[in-house]
């Protein structure tokens, strides 16, 4: 950032990148009518969205959640229950789901951050909260218990149920683009600077007048909101939710692995990570067929390898290569 606190040219370039990305992906359905291709892109974008949500709190805030399914499941259940029991239109239910998940984020954050939980403790407590929610969802009547909830099929854009994948693709792309813009704001705005300062050194941040509690609280609410949007989207696509899908560890793991593989605290990392993992799991499905668990084996192996060899993720690798390049250039010039 030079001088007067305006946005750097690099920042503007990223903004342009986001616009190009959104336009390119949005025009895909005009180029291809292949359901397989559109479905692949839609699922990759969905995986990107949950990775982006995790990245806001984990990558920029340094708070590693092992239970992000907590917000995903809450969004999914609000979306389903509002339609089923409340008779509310899906488009109206969507902001409710997003707001409800943000509220759960505020609740969990106000408990955990008030008592200064961090690191491994925060990770385990978020996991415990997700488990509590899963057991409650299994036990209370309005979630349908273990049987789950089925949202009736009423195909029309007005019901947020589209006849082709294109409609869903545009909806999830809108969320991914919003998350990219929020991430861009985290990298360029004042709030993001505070959040990263709290991540890097909480005491130092406090010493210069930042309130770590409120900063982290805002981050978990934003992160929860995007996760809730993903949950609502899931319900609209698959028209079904149950406690295992909603609050099980699968979604939590998927979110954090994609963000870490792509590069925590970066703008494009979650998109890179989610897409790379998606391509990888598609390849294995073609190689080995539908074997139960093979996908997650690969996720686990990739996670361990990345943590050992590339702790800054794919995007971080690009960064260090560029730094190497820049270093070489300056040495020669």
């Amino acid at each position: 950032m030079s001088g007067t606190g305006g946005i750097s040219s690099g920042g503007l370039r990223h903004l342009g990148g986001i616009a190009v990305f959104a336009v390119l992906v949005a025009s895909l359905p005009l180029v291809t009518k292949s359901g397989v291709a559109l479905n692949f892109v839609m699922m990759a974008l969905y995986a990107t969205l949950i990775a982006q949500a995790w990245n806001i709190l984990g990558g920029f805030g340094g708070q590693f959640s092992f239970g992000h399914a907590l917000f995903f499941g809450t969004g999914a259940y609000i979306q389903a229950i509002a339609q089923l029991h409340g008779g509310i239109n899906a488009w109206v239910a969507l902001p409710l789901a997003v707001a409800g998940s943000a509220l759960v984020g505020l609740f969990v954050g106000s408990l955990t951050f008030r008592y200064g939980l961090k690191g491994s403790y925060f990770a385990l407590v978020t996991l415990a909260f997700a488990e509590v929610f899963r057991i409650v969802a299994l036990s209370v009547p309005f979630t349908g218990g273990g049987v789950g909830l089925m949202v009736p099929l009423r195909e029309s854009a007005g019901n947020l149920q589209f006849p082709s994948r294109a409609g869903y693709l545009w909806v999830v792309l809108a969320f991914v683009t919003a998350a990219l813009l929020v991430t861009w704001w985290l990298r360029n705005g004042r709030f993001g600077a505070y959040l990263q300062a709290v991540r890097d050194n909480e005491d130092a941040a406090r010493a210069v007048g930042v309130n770590p509690f409120r900063i982290k609280l805002a981050a978990i609410a934003i992160s929860g909101a995007f996760m809730g949007a993903a949950g609502a989207f899931y319900v609209q696509v698959f028209q079904y939710i149950d406690p295992g899908i909603a609050y099980g560890s699968g979604t939590s793991v998927e979110a954090l692995v994609a963000a870490i593989v792509g590069g925590m605290g970066t703008l494009w990392g979650p998109l890179l990570g989610a897409t790379a993992l998606h391509v990888l799991s598609d390849l294995t499905r073609n190689l080995f067929g539908e074997l139960p668990g093979i996908n997650m084996v690969i996720y686990g192996v990739v996670l361990v390898l990345i943590v050992i060899f590339l702790p800054r993720g794919i995007a971080g690798m690009g960064l260090s290569v560029r730094q190497l390049w820049a270093g070489k250039g300056s040495r020669h010039g």
Binding site: F66, L124, N295
Partner: protein, 290 residues
């Protein structure tokens, strides 16, 4: 509601389960106390040990209790190798990285089990599986009594190793003052791996005691992970006495919770304890400081 003839068997049952929980938690707290890392793969490792016990019985007809001298060294070797080859390299100076590495290991273990053994729940048949003994008004299954006694014996052995042997002294030295121990000529990486190995060896013993009265499937570890963490934070991270007392307490809470709230809702008691202790008294009952 608080009838003695209902309450007593329930508490007794909780204590027998609690002894095995304590054994599992001892392994976890040892690893935490020495390496200062939370082994997220603890539950998945227990699941692997349970499968080992299962296949030893089903394929070679080896009784679970006779399998102890096979499964304990096997789990020790697994732990030693994991720490040396994988976990040691993942840290880069940050606790979270180790947690992520052990999470990755847990995911791999669980899903390899799913891949090879399918999601079927399996149990074994032994001559004593269904026999019971009367203690007062309670009928207690024989395998549960054996598990109770066995867990106490293994815990005593662990206390002896830690308190009376050179290995135990080296482990305690490294836990207290890593740099100082290194200067005294202790191979810290070896001690780390030994501690991790002993931690998983506890799981091997626990698996042999558990399976005759329990079952195994690829997801079985998940349930134990949070229970073990609850016990460890309740007792105080790194405290051995805490893990023992915490194990019994959690066993009884789970048993009584199941009695009064029903099977699925009863588990919430454990998570409530976990969240409550971490938030309000993170140093636990016997821990020195957070």
């Amino acid at each position: 509601m608080f009838d003695f003839s209902i309450l007593f068997p329930s508490v007794l049952n909780g204590l027998t389960t609690g002894a095995v929980y304590a054994l599992i938690a001892l392994g976890l707290t040892l690893i935490y106390g020495v390496l200062h890392i939370i082994n997220f793969a603890h539950g998945a490792s227990l699941m692997l040990a349970l499968y080992a016990v299962y296949f030893l019985k089903e394929s070679w007809g080896i009784d679970p209790y006779l399998a102890l001298p096979i499964v304990i060294p096997g789990m020790f070797a697994l732990g030693y190798g994991l720490q040396r080859i994988v976990i040691n390299r993942a840290g880069h100076g940050k606790d979270e990285n180790i947690l992520l590495a052990t999470l990755g290991i847990a995911i791999v273990m669980e899903n390899l089990a799913l891949l090879f053994f399918k999601s079927d729940t399996r149990n074994i048949d032994t001559a004593y599986s269904l026999s019971t003994v009367a203690i007062g008004p309670a009928m207690i299954a024989v395998p549960k009594l054996v598990a109770f006694a066995g867990a106490l014996v293994v815990s005593a052995a662990l206390f002896w190793i830690m308190g009376r042997t050179d290995l135990g002294r080296a482990i305690r030295a490294v836990a207290k003052e890593k740099e100082g121990a290194k200067l005294m000529g202790i191979d810290v990486d070896h001690v780390y791996a030994m501690s991790f190995g002993i931690g998983l060896a506890c799981l091997g013993a626990a698996a042999c005691f558990l399976l005759p009265a329990y079952y195994v499937n690829p997801q079985v570890g998940g349930g134990f992970v949070l229970v073990a963490f609850t016990i460890v934070v309740l007792g105080g991270m790194g405290s051995f006495v805490g893990a023992l007392v915490g194990g019994f307490l959690v066993g009884v809470v789970e048993s009584l919770g199941g009695l009064y709230l029903g099977e699925s809702l009863g588990q919430i008691g454990i998570f409530a304890i976990f969240i409550g202790v971490v938030l309000f008294r993170p140093e636990g009952m016997f821990g020195a400081k957070a």
